[in-house]
Symmetry: D2
Subunit: 234 residues, 4 copies
C-alpha cells in the first residue's frame, strides 16, 4: 500500500464566474430605473456599502462563482449543508476513489479548551500530534487495503467504499451566488471584526479563506463592503 | 394626458450569462473525475441528452442567464412566482412610474371556450376587441391622470400608485440558472411535443418565447436535449 | 356600480401550524443527541436565546405556519418576493374577481418627507386625504364597471382583469417556516429595537404585525428571543 | 473493543407532521376561492390526481413531515443533497460519536453487473459477503479503537473523528414538505411503474421506503395520486 498520498491542504480553484462590482450596482439601480454606469469610484463604493448595510441582498444574487475543490469528506459534509448552492461531486458509486487522505500538519490546533459553546483550540503536544498521525496513517492504509481487496473480489464500489474513513478526499464543483457566498464566509471563517462570531472547523476555514481570496479579487468593492459591515451577509 | 404609450409587446434582452454547453458537461463529468473536454460533437450531444433524460439536474444549475425585461404588472406577478430566481425590479415606492400601458393587439386570442381545466382561446370579434381597447385606454388614461394629480398634491408615490391598473409596465432584471429556466419554459409555453401541457397566459408566453430564443442561442445542445425530452426540466 | 366594497384593513388568519417552542429545542438538541425534554422554563428560554444569538437557524425551520390572507394586489406583490414560502393565491384567470378594493383610512400616513434612503411618512392634510379617496373611488368604480362589461361581452377573465387597479383585493394561503417568517418580519415591520431598520410600506406592515401576533402566541419563547436579539432572523 | 454494534438496518420514525389530504385540496381550491370541504371521496381523489398530473406542485408544499433518522454517514451524505429540506444532525464536533456501524446483511445485492449507466445489482457469493463482513468489522473496530485513543489523549473530537469510516451511524431530524418528499422518493426508490427510473443505492432506498410508508399512511390520497402518475413529483 505504498501508493497512498497524505495531504494537509485543500484545493480551491476559480473555475468560472458571472458579474462584477458594476453588475451589482446595475442590478440594484434597476429599482430606480438607473444603470449606475456614470458613478465615480467613491460613489460606487458608497452605494455598495449602503446595499450591504441595509441588507438589500438580491442585487448580490445576480453574480455567481463556480469553484473547483478537493477536500476530505468531513469537509464536504459541512460544505453540502449550504443549500443555496449547486454542487457536482465525484461519485464513489460511479468511479473508484483515489488513495488520497487528509493528515493535518502540526500547525493544526488539535486540543479543545473550555466548556460547551465557548471552545478555544490550542496547538497539541508533540506526543498528541504523533498519536494523531500514527492513527490516521494506520487507519487510512488499512482501510484503503480493504477497499482495494473488496473491489478485487468483485464487491460493488458503492459498498466497498463504506470501509473508507472520512478523511479520504473527494472533489467537485460548487456554484454559489454572491449573497450565498457571503453567508458561507460569515459562518465558515472566524475573522476579527465579525459581528457574528463563526466557529468553523479548521479545515473548512481553509477552504473558506481561499474562496474569500477569489471573491476579494473579482469583486473588490463588494468584498470591502462585506468587511466594513461586520462580515454579515446582506 | 397625451403622453401615454400603449404597447402590445414585451421587452426581453440578454444582459449577462455564465457557462455554455461545455460547462454543463464539465460539471457532470466531475462525478466520474473527467472533464469531457475531448468529446466529439455527437458524444457531447448524446451526453447532455442522457443527463436530461435521467433527470440529472444539478449540472445545468452551474450555468445562469440574466435577462432585462419590461412587462405589464400582471405578467410580473406570474414571473415572480418562480422562486428559484433573483429578481431586481423597478420600485413604485422609490421612483415615479412611467405612463406605459399594455394594450393587446388584435392577434391576441381573447375569448375563452370550454369548461374549467380544458379551456381553449379563440380570436375575439371586431366588436370585442374594440370594447377591450376602449376600456383599456379609458381606464389607463383616467388612472394615470389621477396618479399624476395625487403626486402633484403631495401624496406619496407608494400610495398614489394604488390607483394604477395592472396593465402598467414595470421593468427589471431576472437571473435564473438553466434548470430553473427550463422549468419556467415548461410551465410558461405551450409548445407541441411537450409531455406536460403548459397553460400559460398569452403575455407571459411571449416573454418565455424570447427567453427560449436566448437560451437556444447560448446553449444549443442543452436546448436541443430539452426539446428531445418533451420540454421537461431535468 | 353600487356593489363595490372599500376596505382599509387586511385579513390574516391562522390556518394551520406545526411545532412549538419545545420542538425548536428538540431539533437543536439533536446535534448533541439530547431531547431537551427535561429543561426548566428558564433553561428553555436561555437555550432558544442562544440559538437566535449564534444564528443557528435550522432548528427554527422545522416549525411552520400556514396563514390565510386577503390583501390588495400591491401588498401581494411584496409578499410574493419572499421566496422561502409556499403561496396558493386566488387566480384571476380561473375565477372572476370580486369588487373589493383597498381605500386607506385617514390614519394612514400619506406624505413622504426627506430625501431618498431616509424617508419619513407623515399624516396627510384633510384635502390630501379627500383627494386620495376621490381618486381611489373613482378609478375603482370605473375600472370595475369596465371589467364587468368586458366579461359580459365575452372577453376572457385573464384579459379583462388587466383594467383593474392594484388596490383590488386578492386572497390565498401562505406557508412559511419560522426562520423565513422571522426574516419577513424583520423586513416588513419597523419596530423599535430592531438592529436593521425595516422600511416597510404601511399596508404590508399591517399584515406583518398580524403575523407576528400569531407567531408570538404559538411560539412565545422563540418570539421573545427574536425581540431580545434585535429582531434579526437567525 | 467489545462494545461495537453492527446494524444492517436504518431507523426512520415519524416525529411530527402538518396537514392532510384535505389541506392539499383546500390550498389548491384557494385559486378558485373554494374550500373543497364539501367534496365526496371520489371527487377528492380525482382532484388530487388532477393536481399531480398537471404538475400543480405548490398545494403539496403546504404539508410537511418531520422524520427522525439513524443512518450511516454514507447515506447521510446522499440525504443532505436534497436542498429543499431542513436537517438537524448530530454533531461529531459537539459530542462523541457512538460505536454503531453499518454492516449489510447477506440480502444486500453487492455485485454490480453491466456497463456504466445501466448497472444491475446481484446478490454476492458467500465468499464475497464474508470478505465484506470481515473487512467492515476489522476497519470499524480498528478505527473505533483509534478514535477512542485519540480522545483519551486529548485530541479534539472534530479531528479524532476523521479516522472513522463512513459506515458509522449518525442521527437527526429532517423536515420536508410533501412536494420535496415526492421528489426525494422518485429519486431514491426504484419501483415499478416509475416514469423516471431511479438508481438509488440500496441503503438510502431502505430509508426512502420507510418515508413512503409514513407518507402513504398520513396522506393516502396524495400517495395514491403519486403512484398513478408514475411516481413523478408535481
Amino acid at each position: 500500500v505504498s501508493d497512498l498520498t497524505f495531504r494537509s491542504d485543500i484545493t480551491l480553484q476559480l473555475d468560472d464566474w458571472m458579474g462584477d462590482d458594476a453588475k451589482v450596482i446595475r442590478m440594484a439601480k434597476a429599482s430606480i430605473k438607473k444603470t449606475g454606469g456614470d458613478m465615480e469610484e467613491a460613489a460606487r463604493m458608497g452605494f455598495i456599502n449602503f446595499l450591504m448595510r441595509e441588507r438589500h441582498g438580491v442585487p448580490f444574487e445576480h453574480c455567481a462563482i463556480t469553484f473547483y475543490f478537493e477536500v476530505p469528506i468531513f469537509v464536504m459534509r459541512q460544505l453540502a449543508k449550504h443549500r443555496i448552492s449547486s454542487i457536482s461531486e465525484a461519485s464513489g458509486r460511479y468511479v473508484e476513489l483515489e488513495p488520497v487522505f487528509y493528515l493535518a500538519n502540526s500547525q493544526r490546533p488539535m486540543v479543545q479548551i473550555g466548556k460547551a459553546g465557548a471552545y478555544q483550540f490550542e496547538r497539541g503536544t508533540y506526543q498528541q500530534f504523533q498519536g494523531y498521525r500514527f492513527a490516521t496513517e494506520a487507519t487510512s492504509k488499512r482501510a484503503w487495503a480493504y477497499y482495494r481487496d473488496l473491489l478485487d473480489e468483485g464487491v460493488a464500489r458503492e459498498l466497498a467504499r463504506s470501509v473508507l474513513p472520512v478523511n479520504v478526499y473527494t472533489s467537485g464543483y460548487i456554484t454559489v451566488n454572491l449573497r450565498s457566498l457571503m453567508n458561507l464566509l460569515s459562518l465558515r471563517t472566524a475573522e476579527e471584526g465579525a459581528v457574528i462570531q463563526g466557529h468553523p472547523q479548521y479545515e473548512i476555514e481553509l477552504l473558506a479563506q481561499e474562496m474569500e481570496r477569489v471573491f476579494a479579487c473579482r469583486f473588490p468593492l463588494v468584498h470591502t463592503a462585506f468587511l466594513r459591515n461586520g462580515r454579515v451577509a446582506p
